[in-house]
């Protein structure tokens, strides 16, 4: 028997690809053993949400979107007394959560130790249906039902919800790719291709890991300006100012010791053509990380001779798992002390989720965030 809490809450539901989102009213279930019910304060809008809306990925419908969220504990299910790190949890505590729950039993979870590759993992806001229990499984909502096995993190006292949501899933994604897989280290010269949320988070992590020089290749100019203003990147190359790959490669080489190229190139552009360009920017013996190739756009021309001759290490990283989210939370106080993360955010009401999606798609803003406090009840008139 599921007990329901009153009153119902508002949730943004995707019922048809490319169709307008709908703010619907939904009942709230009392959390069962091991589960946690949280009120959502802020929910992030991610580039993946744009793809989901367009039906580029195979997902069930209807769903409540939103795989990035921060909120407060509403109710703790039986047996839940601490967060993932072992900190005590109480109702009212500010929390964030990893968006996915790997199965914990398969080859990828147990043998390969790559829980991000688990084929049956649950992902909030992506593969949990709105018409099945517990319904509230996306963060674009006033509440979310965090199922047993969720990695929930109490937000450290000196951080505000804005600090957490500003990087959204780009933060733990960068921890996985930039820190764990690419392995930036002190003194590295790093190129970041792309200045969207993943590029910004990756560049910040490159700084945090002690890179001696970070070259940010991106655009449009407002994004690069913002990056400059908050101290992200040492050299900025505007792809609209330098539309030719050859020019950009030359500028990157100019910015690296001995014109050898970068120790590490982080591809966060999502454009297949960035890969060939990035290989040219990487020094011999260097590392190229494909972090942005989430969509399968098919084959593009690439020269494999470069891999042999330059002894490249070309690596990929897909999403993140609990351990990356944990490390992100542990690193967040350092990041937020160094960069004014809140400047990345633009707030929207839940009702304006469509507009937030559109602004994300166009790149007009850096990071749209749905703020549930801007409208507290679905049935309340503006």
């Amino acid at each position: 028997m599921v007990t329901e809490l009153r009153p119902d809450v508002g949730a943004v539901v995707l019922s048809g690809f490319n169709a307008p989102l709908k703010l619907e009213s939904a009942p709230v279930a009392e959390p069962g053993p091991g589960a946690v019910l949280a009120r959502v304060d802020l929910a992030g809008v991610c580039g993946t949400d744009v793809h989901l809306h367009h039906g580029h990925l195979s997902i069930p419908l209807p769903i409540v979107l939103g795989h990035e969220g921060v909120g407060r504990i509403w109710r703790l299910g039986q047996g839940v007394s601490t967060d993932f790190s072992g900190n005590p949890l109480q109702e009212g505590d500010t929390v964030a959560w990893s968006s996915n729950i790997p199965c914990g039993k398969c080859y990828w979870c147990v043998v390969a130790g790559e829980r991000t590759l688990c084929e049956t993992r649950k992902v909030y806001g992506v593969n949990q249906r709105f018409d099945e229990f517990p319904r509230l499984s996306g963060a674009w909502s006033e509440a979310i039902y965090l199922q047993p096995g969720s990695a929930i993190f109490r937000v450290p006292g000196d951080l505000s919800p804005e600090h957490v949501i500003a990087l959204g899933c780009a933060g733990p994604t960068a921890v996985h790719g930039v820190i764990e897989v690419a392995g930036i280290t002190v003194g590295d010269t790093v190129v970041v291709q792309g200045s969207g949320p993943v590029g910004m988070a990756s560049a910040m992590y490159a700084h945090l890991a002690g890179a001696s020089r970070v070259v940010l290749v991106g655009g449009p100019s407002n994004r690069l300006l913002l990056a400059r203003e908050i101290g992200v990147g040492d050299v900025h190359i505007d792809i609209f100012e330098y539309p030719g790959a050859e020019d950009r490669v030359r500028l990157v080489l100019d910015a690296t010791p001995g014109r050898r190229g970068a120790d590490v190139v982080l591809e966060c552009a999502g454009v297949p053509a960035a890969v060939a360009e990035g290989w040219e920017m990487t020094r011999r013996g260097g590392t190229f990380l494909a972090l942005g190739q989430y969509t399968d756009r098919g084959a593009v021309p690439l020269n494999p001779h470069l891999i042999t001759r330059k002894e490249l290490r070309v690596v990929g990283s897909w999403g993140f798992a609990e351990k990356h989210y944990l490390r992100h939370i542990e690193a967040l106080p350092r990041l937020s002390a160094r960069f004014d993360l809140r400047r990345l955010i633009t707030r929207y009401r839940l009702e304006d989720a469509d507009k937030a999606l559109a602004d994300m798609g166009s790149g007009r803003v850096m990071k749209p965030v749905l703020d549930t406090s801007l409208r507290s009840q679905v049935d309340t008139p503006d």
Copy 2:
């Protein structure tokens, strides 16, 4: 003052691309301090020699070809009393030598620790002119002048010169790529693309490193037959029998646990198209080594989405340095105890170097070897 030894010796000289090679008579210099003069017993013919002959690489002319050799110490220059490993050296000792001498001072030698990337290294049989001192700088000759800084190795007592020459430069190349860069380990499922000398050496090293299953994808059938007979590979896929990449990928998946694909794929085919095929054969989180892309044939279609989604590690390896040659020499007793290496060899006279080159180019034989004992003097009639 260079002192010359009598009589002159015969050396195979390349004076013009695509032109016939010429067996010329050359004077022998007494080795200076730090140098060593060696009689060559056996010299290997490598696929790279075919490319050199065709002028595919930028090299000076004229040169004595031959970057693979084994022979006996003729004269030791002043100050040379041990081999690279510290074993005492005497005239008459059987020795092999690393084909290249890195500068030891540049970024690649000192900082990156990748001496194979040294831009000014000397390479016997490739970039040392025949018309300059010490002239005898290639192994296709009755003698070779090993310059100071050469890594010379006394051949362990239980090994014959045939054991050393059978794998030629493919041996240390595989040590570098397969063992050091790709890092095969016990229990791995390994695919080797290509059954020429590099593919054979790589598959042998995969076995030696404890791979649980080695799938050899190559051809023509005589090469696979030889592989089977000497115990190289557990599964053999003939590319002439299965000309379609899709079929080969399917067969490889069938041969891997859970049809996940191979833990490691070693590309030793030298054909750009093998790379896309190899990426399909690699399991998620697995490693793909581009070991055979020595020639720049330009870009081919490759799907970078696979790198991100499958979290591939795509690495390259270029040639080898002293440490790889050392490890190869240390591993050779194990290899030769396990595989009948001598079966790889086909012998030719120095005079028949053109034929040896042609047979290498056509793949008619596995490993042509010039045997100086088949004709001891340049001026002796057949």
Copy 3:
């Protein structure tokens, strides 16, 4: 409701430390969902069992001992149709199983990826009580109830149960320590301290991983003789013949290139004093693995200056988890093709478990194995 199968089976029960073991009759439960019931054919006796019997470790009583076993599927619980690797499972299949079940949720399981460090893992034959369901939780029994979450492996067709039990837990322990943590690679010179089961398994894995030279330091002479006969180790140093550590260090240095010491030293002796000796045997920049220090015997004199000056890498490895067992099973056909594993075994009846323990303790035999077929029913007179 637990359904019981008839008739009862015999199980060797430890009810009091240092007291005689007792072969008791126990009921057999029909396996619940996710569980598997197996008949045990062979069960290994391990040095740890000697410690358990003496009460050196904190364990609950009474328990059925036995963390090493191989047997046949008796009944499959609901939902179990494949083994851990995805191979189909049927009643009658020969299987082995990992002795422990990590929780899958804690910091060690999820974040550190070191499931061997899980503090709440279940261990068959060690921390599962005989007086609680499912009672049959040790391998020294005619049957074992494999709880949900167990990693069960169908034994490959070309292997007999003897092949599996011969190395017992030493096999996956060596995979973890020797292959994963120490990381032996092709060409390494390796010293193994200790010639008991863990030393033998470690030396075998060093061979399998391509070590160029394996020096086995152990005793008594019958163990070294056996090692020699089955091809384990290239150099054998008898600690009874050379009782002084200084002599042994000298002999090891003599056996390594340039008298630099071994690339890797694997401590499998279990004696604290072996550590100081092993540090002397390790070359500068080399690796020392503490694999045998399972019992806390307190501090011994060690010189930390050696770690700094020699740039040692001193690593430890504790037990194993599913992935190591999997890799061991995958490597076992190679191991058994190379070494006659069955020669390690000495068989005992279940009734003679006390004698098997005593013989293990004294080192009189290499690997005592309880063979349930030597006496099929607990109530049958001899």
Copy 4:
């Protein structure tokens, strides 16, 4: 023929252990091919100098002390036109240099890639005699003759000589140990044992590498106060306030997530007893770096069981080589932007080298520096 430059310069010479140092006048040789003559501006006094003075290490006498220096190019030898990184060099440029010149030919230089282990490397201020050419081979002098093969670095424009000398050899030593060997990464909890120059440099590098928390265990209080003031360390434990190891271990555990202990412990104390304490502070699966055990004080009690049970990785690091110095120079702008390095320094005249040594030995100051501008000529009266 060596050409001498006029006038002679002053150099601090060690002629007898424990005897007073003497400021002697010495002739200056015109640099030969590949060499560089530099005027010394600032020279560091290191703890090792104290040991050298006491005769704790086997060195030749007489020598000019000083393995840390920064100065200006006086004369460039033939063939020298760039620094180690390829930057153009001119007379008057501010430069620093790596204190040692590995041979570049031995097993350690070529095979192991650990040039810090080279047995025949030249070390300025340590093993170059004052009574042999080129005499001026230590930095406690108005000039130093940098022999061919020296790694010389032009100091980046935004750095002053003070920034370079403040960390002295502790900077590249920390790069080697903390960054390369221990491998601190973003989010790590790090303990630093010792608050002398090596401890300070290591803690700074831990911060630079993105550690989430740095616990500095040291003393006396003035050193910890300085650390606090310049932002080194997040938690400070005074060993004089907490003289018991048990208390310090408890405090460290309190400061780590889940009281698991630190991910990485950096021993920079130089006291053997710190090692046992550090092992207690390291979390299971964590890393302990022995960076300070430069002097052989013999064995101390250590419990090897901890290595096995906790799966520790205990590593050592010895000195540094060119690549570490290079990375230090590349990281220095980041370090100096973050920490006020100049506050570490206390200046002395060359004549007061004895006092500088004494103050270093007593720990009264953090970093004594000999400033040649405080007294320009040896023959000038005060």
